[in-house]
């Protein structure tokens, strides 16, 4: 079964990317949402779904960019992703 990775720091994206597999979800939270300003995010395979925590995106004024590079979700969506993926790896 696929995995959910959460990430709250842009500098960890490279390390995290080594462990992303087909069907995995990457959820950007807190300062991790600044990943939407990074070219590296666009270079992930299409088989990885990228999500952003809506409240964190809105706080930082990144709505437009986040929309282009990710799907915005709330905490209910976050809990849902935890259930539909067999394991969670938190990058912080």
């Amino acid at each position: 079964m696929s995995h959910l990775h959460t990430l709250n720091n842009v500098e960890l994206l490279q390390d995290c990317a080594r462990f992303l597999s087909d069907g995995d979800a990457l959820l950007l939270i807190e300062d991790g949402v600044y990943c939407v300003t990074q070219a590296e995010l666009g270079q992930l395979p299409d088989s990885i779904t990228v999500y952003c925590l809506q409240d964190d995106v809105d706080a930082r004024g990144l709505g437009q960019l986040a929309q282009e590079h990710s799907q915005k979700i709330g905490f209910e969506g976050f809990v849902g992703l935890c259930c539909t993926h067999s394991k969670i790896i938190n990058w912080f």
């Binding site: 300062d31 300003t37 409240d55």
Partner: protein, 123 residues
């Protein structure tokens, strides 16, 4: 040098607005310094330039809105607000993306600002 009446205080704010308390701590310190009517310089560089971005809506994370607080700086007499051009450039940002009116400084000017200060707080 001790007990000098006026000193220039330069604040470098290098962190994004909400993930840590660095941005708000720096701002609080700038405002406290303004009360002393010192020569206060406020420089945004690195990820600190994200504090200046338009359209920040922080109600969802129940935090004070850093952009709104920065907009109020002139009320407190803080007029010398600067942004590092290189940091904007590295993040594909321009002055048009910013809500806060700042003076754009090139690398030489940023250097001069920091090196000429009496005291530097670097957060």
């Amino acid at each position: 040098m001790t007990e000098r009446q006026s000193k220039s205080l330069t604040f470098i704010s290098r962190r994004p607005p909400y993930g840590s308390d660095n941005a708000l701590a720096c701002l609080d310190l700038v405002l406290a310094s303004a009360v002393f009517e010192q020569n206060v310089n406020y420089l945004f560089m690195g990820d600190g330039v994200f504090q200046l971005l338009k359209s920040q809506q922080s109600e969802g994370i129940e935090s004070k809105n850093v952009m709104s607080l920065l907009l109020a700086l002139p009320i407190y007499g803080v007029e010398n607000v600067f942004v590092d051009d290189l940091s904007l450039h590295q993040r594909n940002l321009s002055l048009e993306d910013l809500a806060i009116k700042t003076t754009l400084l090139n690398s030489q000017q940023v250097r001069q600002l920091v090196l000429s200060a009496d005291v530097v707080f670097n957060l």
